[in-house]
Amino acid sequence: MNKVKGLKSKDLLGLKDLSVEEIKLILETARSMKEIMARPIPKVPTLIGKHIVTLFYEPSTRTRTSFNTAAKILSANITNVQMSTSSVVKGESLIDTIKNLEVMGLDCIVIRHSMGGAPHLAAKNCKAAVINAGDGFNEHPTQGLLDIFTMIEKKKTVKGKKVVIVGDIAHSRVARSNIWGLKKLGAEVVVVGPPTLMPKGIEEMGVRVSYKLDEEIGDADFINMLRVQRERMEKGLLPSIEEYSELYGLNSDRMKKAKKDVVVMHPGPINRGVEITSEVADGPFNVILEQVTNGVAVRTAILFLLLSGKES
């Protein structure tokens, strides 16, 4: 088994575990992949004979489709397995599911799970490459990488730039992956959200905490808006969605304070009118759909780096 240049691990579990060099390698590879995507026939034979499975214990449109597209660009086979949430609790254990998939000859398992550490458990129990497509509120590394890819595309670098991440930081894997990656690359990261949605000790990850969006917008280079789920209200963490919008939503009024070249991001799916108004989401500063395109490039790069050169 050849060690593919660059990535130390057989898996991609989180940005926490990646070195700066590895992050840069992925981003650089993603740029090449984006070029391939622009060709009339966006397909290369690199991963012919490789078989990838997506194993999703949580619903997803974007991420799963993105991985499917990426696999097809590289000519890999891909199978999608949707597990019902109930099967997490009863029925076949995660380890058994993984082992069954592995003996079917799969080279790579892309897993999304509602619990932090589930992909790590999967990775420990199989030889196939495991890609974390989001685990609980731990990490969503491909999202983090595509966000950073997009930022660098827009402003050449993230070093020294101010990134404001807004919303439900406590329950956000996107926030964590962004923080790990951005801090490694030298960005200044400010997390903004109500205290009930701010995880304890987040400062130790090297970020600053703020409860005042208006005070952070003015000098921000990037504003990354997170989705806020209605479930948070049911759990008593927020008094109302309307109040949340008023305090932490991004609207055109607030955008008046922003720099002229600010970049507005959102990992999707958007709750229009909740964390971001349509005017802003569709407005001149947004790169939300470009993020989605870049997601394919980044995921293609990751599949390439993890699987090419490895024996099937």
Binding site: G116, G117, D135, F137, A170, K200, I202, E204, K235
Partner: protein
């Protein structure tokens, strides 16, 4: 069996404030005499030179899973794990299936222990029926059958009014109510300590407050209505609350467990489910305060909270994994290695937490001391011997320990229960 002379060992008997070279003569299951040179004609002799001779260790907090989960543990296997760990008496918690919430189950435990156990087993009966925290269990009848304390351990008694009545009612029997302090609304769906580490690895947290607010509540209730023993204290603030309460004369006692002065939340960083325990492992500052509390007497006892679980219960996603770790076979080694050898406490202080103190908390007149007439429960330790924690060798049916591969100091060589040698040279003798 009838006569046994333990010669020349360093006898530590905290109840008698004794630490010196003595002989101990056992006759008919009782301590006959103890002194610098005891003659024991016809006695079988154990040469204890260079060894520690202790009153048999008492564990205030053991889960035996019997009845209900023989795949995790039984009275048979649990008693053997206890013996190998130097425990001559263990108190089994009520959260079995069915729970020990009625006199018939108490009777079952005692009968099964008589038939299968090689150590003394003292049942702890439930505070409330079905451990539901609503209606009081028949404490009096359970006490009549031999229950030594009351506890819903594994679950808190959430309602303050129910806890109040339980403390009042239990006071007539002179035995403690053991409280599992946890506010379930604060712990929600958490699976580890809430803080920088839970934030970093993306697991739902349980705030230390979840334990502390209930410790505070139970102290206030005990001040008015009875006597409470706080189980498995894990947080610095809890220690401080109990210290203050004791100063004010509240009838409160407490225990901690070896993992709370040995490990911090860092142990779960790689999602090691064997380090998932309730209450969850906390921070360095908490460990420090636990040690301080042990030293100044705020924490009366060290209990194992032995909580056996199957591989199936542990080798799953962290959030889904069962809480708890097996502790009987590593308990003394962790105390010796982390408290005595590191000079946090004297040997006598440490031994008291596992002998005289638990005996006092449960008012066990004939246990926890080596005085003439007491039950001949004795544990003999080689303090110099280092040993490797190898779960494959556990007598417990379960292997869920975060200490696998650890090198510990202080090896149990002999466990003697009512004059009967049940562990010899570190191996089961029966």
């Amino acid at each position: 069996m009838t006569k046994l002379l333990i010669k020349g060992g360093r006898v530590i008997d905290p109840a008698a404030n004794l630490d010196g070279i003595r002989d101990v003569l056992i006759e008919n299951g009782k301590i006959k005499s103890i002194g610098p040179r005891v003659k024991g004609q016809g006695a079988r002799i154990i040469d204890a030179k260079g060894l520690l001779v202790l009153p048999g260790l008492i564990d205030l907090h053991t889960h035996l899973r019997d009845p209900g989960r023989p795949d995790k543990e039984t009275i048979y296997s649990g008693s053997r794990a206890a013996a190998l760990g130097g425990f001559t008496t263990i108190c089994c918690m009520a959260n079995t299936s069915p729970p020990i919430d009625n006199p018939a189950v108490v009777e079952y435990i005692i009968a099964k222990a008589k038939a299968e156990s090689i150590v003394n087993i003292l049942p702890i009966a439930a505070i409330t029926k079905g451990l539901k925290g609503e209606e009081m269990a028949e404490m009096g009848r359970c006490f009549g059958e031999g229950a030594v304390a009351f506890s819903d351990d594994g679950r808190p008694v959430m309602r303050a009014d129910v806890m109040r009545r339980a403390l009042e009612y239990a006071s007539q029997f002179g035995v403690p109510v053991i409280s599992h302090c946890e506010d379930l609304n604060l712990s929600m769906e958490g699976s580890m300590n809430e803080g920088a580490v839970s934030t970093e690895i993306g697991l739902p947290g349980i705030p230390a407050l979840s334990e502390e607010v209930m410790v505070a509540r139970d102290i206030l209730l005990a001040r008015e209505f009875g006597r409470v023993h706080v189980a498995h204290v894990s947080s610095a603030k809890s220690v401080k609350l109990i210290r203050q309460a004791k100063r004010e004369g509240v009838k409160v006692s407490c225990e901690t467990c070896p993992h709370y002065f040995t490990l911090t939340e860092e142990a779960v960083k790689e999602y090691d489910t064997n380090a998932k325990v309730n209450p969850p492992l906390k921070t360095k500052a908490d460990v420090k305060e636990i040690m301080r509390g042990l030293k100044d007497g705020t924490i009366d006892a060290i209990a194992t909270d032995h909580a056996p679980h199957t591989i199936e219960d542990k080798n799953v996603e962290f959030n889904l994994a069962a809480s708890g770790l097996v502790g009987l076979e590593t308990g003394f080694g962790l105390v010796y290695t982390n408290l005595v050898d590191k000079k946090i406490m004297t040997l006598k202080q440490a031994v008291a937490k596992m002998t005289a103190s638990p005996a006092r908390i449960l008012s066990l007149a004939n246990k926890g001391a080596l005085k003439p007439g007491a039950d001949a429960d004795v544990t003999i330790i080689d303090p110099k011997q280092e040993w490797l924690v190898d779960p494959a060798k556990f007598a417990s049916k379960s292997r869920n320990t975060p200490f696998a591969g650890w090198q510990l100091k202080g090896k149990v060589l002999y466990t003697i229960v009512a004059g009967r040698v049940v562990v010899k040279d570190g191996k089961l003798a029966v």
